[in-house]
């Protein structure tokens, strides 16, 4: 039995401890904002926060989050009011939207540690997250906007 919290709510999972956290979040907890993109750590669509750090949930066995605090896109804010979420809409970032939960969670980690990142810092931090619709420059703009207004 692995116990941890997701978005502040206790979760216990008694399946295989090697089960990737991604599938526990999606199919056991029922929070589907966190996406499966590659299952191999290449794309970042499955990014969540584990004790405040952005991690790839597809590469994280559930046993590794015992007692940890996991935050998903659904828990980033109660009402889409995180500065990044507001900036994402203002800059009309999403297209297909599938990668955007991971992008926002990754960006939230950046702003938590570096409130006023340069463009180079943004690119270096975000480069592991693929957006196939190519919204990268709008993502950069939205992060800069959130940094200014947040």
């Amino acid at each position: 039995m692995t116990t941890f919290s997701v978005n502040g709510r206790p979760v216990s999972f008694d399946g295989d401890p090697k089960t990737p956290l991604l599938w526990v979040i999606r199919d056991h907890v029922g929070l589907t904002g966190t996406k499966y993109g590659c299952g191999a750590g290449f794309c970042g669509a499955c990014t969540v926060h584990i004790n405040g750090r952005a991690q790839r949930s597809c590469q994280t066995p559930v046993s590794a989050v015992a007692s940890a605090k996991v935050v998903t896109i659904e828990g980033l804010s109660p009402d889409s009011s995180h500065p990044l979420q507001k900036a994402w809409i203002a800059a009309e970032v999403p297209q297909c939207g599938y990668c955007q939960s991971g992008q926002i969670m990754r960006a939230a980690e950046l702003l938590a540690g570096t409130p006023k990142p340069t463009r180079e810092e943004i690119v270096a931090h975000m480069d592991g997250n693929i957006c196939r619709c190519g919204t990268y420059n709008r993502i950069i703009g939205a992060i800069q906007r959130a940094a200014q207004e947040g």
Partner: protein
């Protein structure tokens, strides 16, 4: 065209039940809208486009959303002519009924396919007309109530008002007492709003899907959960066309959580209690596959060697794609001729959401529901029905958001697998292809070899044009689309030809399809001719290429945007190209540099001018063109699938490279050439502009030409050595 609609009736589907008010069912037919009597044999076949509730809520159906914004743009076109208050408009997905929710095909049928970036373009006339008809019905009802001539009434957003008396009715109030006539009023084209009177079109109304895409609540097919659902994945033959003969079935079935295995024609499906269990079982599968004709296929050898032999073989079967004038005479009388060969590799869609669908049968097994993020709900329904021996009307496909489409999601082979698995497992099934499966069993943009020949007269004008392409056209114009140049270069003597091949490799439409490699060849050759004459590439096109007025405007716009003649920073140069797709024209300029040691090309800035007619949603259209630029840059610089011994060699994003943030140009500039013409497709216009523009900038920087896309470091270094 006689436009009729059905009498109002509460939807039997229940989707809009309980609203009351007025419901507008348009049954499309070859001659326009057709009335379906309320007491017809199959009243349940009626399904509404638009409903107005007494509280003023207007519900409009919409068709699909893969990121381009058309789920907002399509209902916006109805709302504009209805004069609806957009803040009172609710959107719902249309059911999988192409006869009702499709756009008009040339042959009189209806089609729900959202492809070629043509959603707005295809629905433009019908949906605006429908909106105007609804507005007229509302005005007529108000006029009858007030005892006045409807022609004296006007509308404001969701209000009919009488300027003479100042009276007004909200649309919801009318819906509470009004009726819909058996025959809809006829609307002439000149009764639709002129562009200057639009309140919604052209105003960049916020996309309805965006708020759902920043908090995880947008529902993709992969997010659908049904009670009792099992999870499935598939392993397909690594060589297309081969079949599973046997596998380690007992070992697989003994694995934790495995519910069953299932043989399908081209693979094995594993059904389990969870995805990790299904994926683990797939990984453990050891399948003996049959042998087939594709086993020996090698894509590198094909595109490098075999295709050249086909090109050299005068007796090879050839099909004329297009011919005008007398190309033979133009070449025999030419002052100068050019012959260039260009090649292109396979390319994979790499949509971020791997292919998946959810299937559920009813207890009796004669009704099937599918949840799919589909580019073509009607075709998805037909294909799924066929796969399980049902009639299309026994299948309902529920639309979901698409995690990218790019042409791949107009064929629901994966949804058919979900249906087959759900029937066998006797419970709902979500079937998901792993990323590895999505690539290994991908459907690719075909490999090609192209031979381009140009004939010049004594003044350096291009007067003859020959373009021969070797590749797999797949009966879908997968290599011949985009060969025609007459919408931008109206050259007098042309001969375009296909030499078709079939390797048994799965091929498919891929954003801008054949325009990608064809425009690469066309615009590279034009650039070369300009350079040989010592002429500026933009000036050459405007002077010597019989350029059409629309193309001229795009070139003139983009050279102004890019400040084309201005000095660039050291080590950087510009390349220019024209593009054409789905009725739109475009021209782009890219600013590039080359790392001569690493063999890499960096694109620093991109300017794109596009003529897409009337722009319904400018900000969404701009985003769409930006997306097309990035897709094109990625294809030009990185994306390459190779097939060896019939098997795809790439397996995930580790070896199939797509553009990442660090590759991005620091500036993307998009402008639309002003136009009041009907809309044309914009989501693909920029993609095929990137390959030739980069190659032309590379020439400006190095004096060398690139002839094979993508422009991998290996090819760039080889070109630098020539």
């Amino acid at each position: 065209m006689t436009n009729r609609l059905a009498a109002p009736e509460v939807s039997r589907r229940g989707l809009l039940a309980g609203l009351g008010g007025m419901t507008f069912y348009f049954a499309w037919a070859t001659d326009g809208f057709r009335i379906l009597p309320a007491n017809a044999d199959q009243p349940a076949q009626l399904s509404p486009w638009v409903s107005i509730a007494p509280d003023g809520t207007i519900t409009i159906r919409t068709v699909t959303e893969m990121g381009q914004g058309s789920s907002t743009a399509i209902p916006l076109m109805i709302a504009e002519e209805m004069d609806a208050d957009w803040s009172r408009v609710k959107l719902e997905w249309a059911p999988s009924r192409a006869d009702i929710y499709g756009w008009p095909e040339r042959n009189g049928g209806r089609n729900m396919s959202i492809s070629g970036s043509r959603a707005v373009m295809m629905y433009w006339n019908d949906l605006r007309t429908a909106g105007a008809q609804i507005r007229r019905v509302l005005m007529t009802n108000a006029a009858e109530k007030w005892g006045v001539d409807p022609k004296t009434l006007e509308t404001k957003p969701s209000l009919v008002f009488d300027p003479a008396s100042g009276r007004q009715f909200g649309y919801g109030e009318i819906a509470a007492f009004g009726s819909v006539p058996d025959q809809l009023p006829k609307i002439e084209a000149n009764e639709l709003k002129p562009n200057g009177r639009f309140r919604l079109i052209g105003k960049s109304i916020p996309r309805r899907d965006l708020p759902l895409k920043v908090n995880g609540s947008a529902q993709y097919a992969i997010d659908v959960h049904l009670p009792g659902m099992a999870y499935a994945t598939a392993l397909h033959s690594p060589v297309h066309g081969n079949e599973p003969e046997s596998w380690n079935d007992a070992a697989i079935k003994s694995m934790p959580g495995v519910v069953m295995t299932l043989k399908i024609q081209n693979g094995v499906i594993v059904v389990a209690e969870s995805f990790p269990q299904a994926i683990a079982a797939r990984r453990a599968l050891r399948v003996k596959w049959s042998k087939g004709k594709t086993d020996a296929f090698d894509s590198v050898r094909a595109v490098e060697d075999d295709y050249a032999k086909i090109l050299d073989d005068a007796g090879a079967p050839a099909k004329v794609v297009y011919a005008v004038g007398d190309a033979g005479s133009a070449f025999s009388g030419a002052a100068k001729t050019y012959t260039n060969l260009y090649r292109s590799d396979y390319s994979y869609h790499a949509q971020m959401e791997p292919l998946n669908a959810v299937a559920r049968f009813n207890e009796a097994g004669d009704r099937l529901e599918i949840w799919d993020g589909s580019q073509d709900l009607g075709r998805s329904r037909d294909l799924v029905a066929k796969s399980v021996g049902l009639k299309p009307e026994q299948v309902e496909v529920h639309q979901c958001y698409l995690g990218g489409g790019f042409g791949r999601r107009s064929l629901a082979d994966y949804a058919a697998e979900a249906a087959v698995a759900a029937r066998a497992a006797r419970r709902p099934v979500k079937l998901l292809w792993t990323r590895e499966e999505d690539i290994a069993n991908g459907m690719f943009r075909p490999i090609t070899l192209q031979c381009l020949k140009a004939a010049l007269d004594g003044s350096g004008n291009v007067v003859g044009w020959r373009h021969c392409i070797v590749g797999d056209d797949g009966h879908l114009s997968l290599v011949t689309g985009g060969m025609r140049i007459s919408s931008y270069y109206n050259l007098p003597n042309q001969h375009l030809e296909l030499r078709n091949v079939d390797h048994g490799i799965r091929i498919k439409h891929w954003r801008a399809v054949a325009h990608n490699f064809n425009l690469f060849a066309i615009e590279s050759t034009v650039d070369q001719i300009a350079a040989d004459q010592g002429l500026d590439p933009a000036a050459f096109r405007l002077q010597k290429m019989s350029v059409t007025p629309k193309a001229r405007r795009c070139i003139e716009t983009v050279v102004t945007m890019a400040d084309w003649s201005a000095q660039r920073p050291a080590g950087r140069a510009l390349g220019l190209a024209i593009s054409e797709r789905s009725g739109s024209l475009g021209a782009c300029v890219v600013e590039c540099s080359v790392n001569r040691t690493a063999g890499t090309i960096a694109v620093h800035k991109v300017w794109m001018a596009a003529d897409g007619g009337t722009i319904v949603q400018p900000e969404a259209a701009r985003a769409n063109v930006e997306s097309g630029i990035v897709y094109g840059l990625s294809a030009a610089l990185h994306e390459r699938v190779t097939v060896r011994d019939g098997e795809v060699e790439q397996s995930n994003f580790g070896d199939y490279n797509v553009l990442r943030m660090s590759d991005m140009p620091e500036e993307l500039h998009v402008a639309f050439v002003p136009s009041t013409a009907a809309p044309t497709g914009l989501g693909e216009i920029s993609t095929p502009c990137m390959m030739p523009a980069i190659a032309n900038a590379f020439y400006k920087l190095t004096g060398k030409r690139l002839y094979h896309m993508p422009f991998t470091p290996e090819r760039v270094l080889a070109a630098l050595k020539t």
